[in-house]
Symmetry: C2
Subunit: 152 residues, 2 copies
């Protein structure tokens, strides 16, 4: 197996996990920078043509894992692979961001949910979507329906 | 930084990278199994409610990286972070699969583009899509347009 090494770091307004919006229906609109190490800058060539990017990053301030537990989006527990919990066997995270612009090795993006200083492992172009009408969203859809029923 | 450990392995009909469809407009419809280690099975609880999953896996048969190079989808070179090339600084891959069913620790899925025996690092639920009309697809869209023009 390989040893992960940061290709850069996230510059984000969040310095505390408590400040990051979590739970049902949350939208991440915060802007910040994917600050890629200059040695990797050439690898960003043509990335600016894409409106959205996958950012793969490390939950570097999470320790250990829970295979089954609660989620901020639901009061019922779920398996870790059915959630986005940071406490995973491999502490790897995935965020889709909107690319606003690029200045050399710095990507200005919207939609951050990472802490400032988070190590970035990879960036990939977002090439296609599964149409919304083809998605089933399991416990998340059920939790949303319960929340909506409770609010009536 | 953490040390990645497989949570399971891909059971795929592909035993040779040459057999995996690549290039413009390719669709991955092949079925196979995400064979999760039994010690992690409880972490799959409720995953079956989702129609699609993100699979994060390791390019375990790729060595080294090219920051700028050709892609099977285009005869022009691009930065590695604007492509899905396996030769990346961190050899981490991302595939969206359709979940067809679950038998205990085995997930039956469609849409594999991995070799048989590939180590799986993580599984995450696919919760939402960027609407297609909001996507810009850079060099990929340009290559598709050139291909279409050439075929006329």
């Amino acid at each position: 197996m390989f040893t992960p090494n940061p290709i850069g770091y996230v510059r984000s307004p969040y310095t505390d996990t408590k400040a990051i919006p979590k739970g049902l229906g949350v939208r991440h609109e915060v802007e910040g920078i994917l600050d890629i190490l200059t040695e990797f800058e050439i690898g960003l060539t043509d990335v600016e043509g894409f409106s959205h990017l996958f950012v793969i990053w490390a939950f570097d301030r999470s320790e250990g894992y829970d295979l089954f537990g609660p989620s901020p989006a639901d009061n019922r527990p779920h398996g870790v692979f059915a959630t986005r919990s940071p406490r995973r066997p491999n502490p790897i995270a995935l965020t889709v961001v909107e690319l606003l612009g690029r200045d050399g090795p710095k990507l200005r993006v919207r939609g951050l949910d990472m802490l400032d200083g988070t190590p970035i492992l990879d960036i990939k172009p977002y090439m296609s979507s599964i149409p919304a009408e083809q998605l089933r969203r399991g416990w998340l859809a059920e939790a949303e329906a319960r929340k909506q029923a409770d609010s009536k």
